[in-house]
């Protein structure tokens, strides 16, 4: 069981293809929070995002044999998740209704209670809020890349494969996005 933690995603999926369900469970462990954070950006609703993430893992389970080594496992899983999220949003007519707040108007991120935190933590949380708002105000093509690169920590090549765009476009969009963020956050980051 300790060894399974050391395996790469690709090795895990091949073990799972041979019937090892513990490999599948490890994939779920590795990706469930990452995917939730990413999909939350599409759905803006935590429960809904969790639903999509669960559906993604169901698809991974049922379609394990369709995975081929031509793509990275992360790219495959994110593609499934993003497609499910976009389909769900388009069915609900919310494809362009992005907002940082949840359905009830509350920010759904786990911001600590400011009354019980130190001044430094309050500033950090405030900065987190501002950064999230600024990312949310970016054009979708920029926001998506910032999320994939800085939040999900994907490589340029992985992002390019996932979004089906050239690596150069990924880099230029990311640079543009960061310049836009720099302008929006100039008061907070000096």
């Amino acid at each position: 069981m300790a060894d399974i933690k050391k395996l790469s995603d690709e090795e895990l999926i091949f073990k799972f293809q041979k019937g090892d369900e513990s490999a599948y469970n490890e994939i779920v462990e590795r990706y469930k929070n990452k995917l939730l954070n990413h999909i939350f950006y599409y759905m803006k609703d935590r429960e809904w995002a969790e639903d999509i993430v669960q559906d993604t893992f169901v698809r991974v389970y049922l379609n394990k044999d369709k995975y081929k080594e031509i793509a990275k496992v992360s790219t495959w899983i994110y593609t499934i998740a993003i497609n499910l999220a976009k389909t769900a949003l388009s069915r609900n007519g919310k494809m362009n209704a992005f907002s940082i707040t949840g359905k009830d108007g509350e920010n759904d991120y786990e911001i600590k209670d400011k009354h019980t935190t130190t001044d430094g933590e309050v500033l950090k949380n405030e900065l987190s809020d501002v950064i999230m708002s600024s990312i949310d105000e970016l054009e979708e093509k920029f926001r998506e890349i910032v999320m994939l690169r800085d939040v999900d920590e994907m490589s340029y090549e992985e992002i390019a494969a996932l979004l089906k765009i050239p690596t150069g476009t990924v880099k230029s969009r990311l640079n543009r996005a960061r310049l836009n963020l720099r302008d929006a956050l100039s008061e907070y980051i000096k």
């Binding site: 893992f57 389970y61 987190s128 963020l181 720099r182």
Partner: protein, 169 residues
């Protein structure tokens, strides 16, 4: 906007990747050593990237794994057959034996009702049946009877008769 703008322009044009160590580029390195505006600009971009990495993340709820398990069970196409496969061999044999015994008991019960009793069954013919009986004298006689008893009597009366039975329906 940095006052100098040289590095910013390189980044916009895609000539420079801020994620990489820009100092590895000799031209950039020399410029950064001389230009505080561009140095601050590069630092601010890096800080944004690192702050984004540090933003609070959400985690799945406590019931996530359980809900996923339920969805998986519902979605598995062969879940029922897999359950049967997991039943121990001995238990499976008991199931099979019980099935065979049930079939045999059923057969014996139906048999006891006389469904398979030939003699009794033939006597139970009630619908009119046409028997065609041919003799060696090449004359064909047609007899209509409602039971085998009558037919047997006809045959007994003429031993040379060869019988063809045509039930008609």
């Amino acid at each position: 906007m940095a006052k100098c703008g040289k590095i910013e322009e390189m980044i916009i044009n895609g000539d420079l990747e801020i994620d990489l160590a820009v100092e590895t580029n000799d031209t950039v390195s020399v410029h950064l050593a001389e230009c505080s505006d561009c140095r601050m600009f590069v630092e601010s971009l890096r800080k944004i990237s690192s702050e984004i990495k540090n933003i609070d993340r959400i985690k799945v709820s406590a019931g996530f794994d359980h809900a996923l398990k339920i969805k998986l069970e519902a979605a598995k196409p062969e879940s029922s057959s897999q359950e049967i496969k997991t039943v121990p061999f001995f238990t499976r044999m008991v199931y099979y034996a019980a099935g065979v015994a049930a079939v045999m008991i059923g057969f014996m019960y139906v048999s006891s009702l006389g469904v398979f009793d030939n003699k009794k069954g033939n006597d139970m013919i009630t619908a009119p049946v046409t028997f065609t009986v041919a003799s060696n004298t090449d004359k064909t006689k047609t007899v209509t009877t409602d039971s085998l008893e009558n037919l047997r009597e006809n045959v007994a009366n003429d031993e040379e008769l060869r019988m063809k039975v045509n039930t008609g329906e």
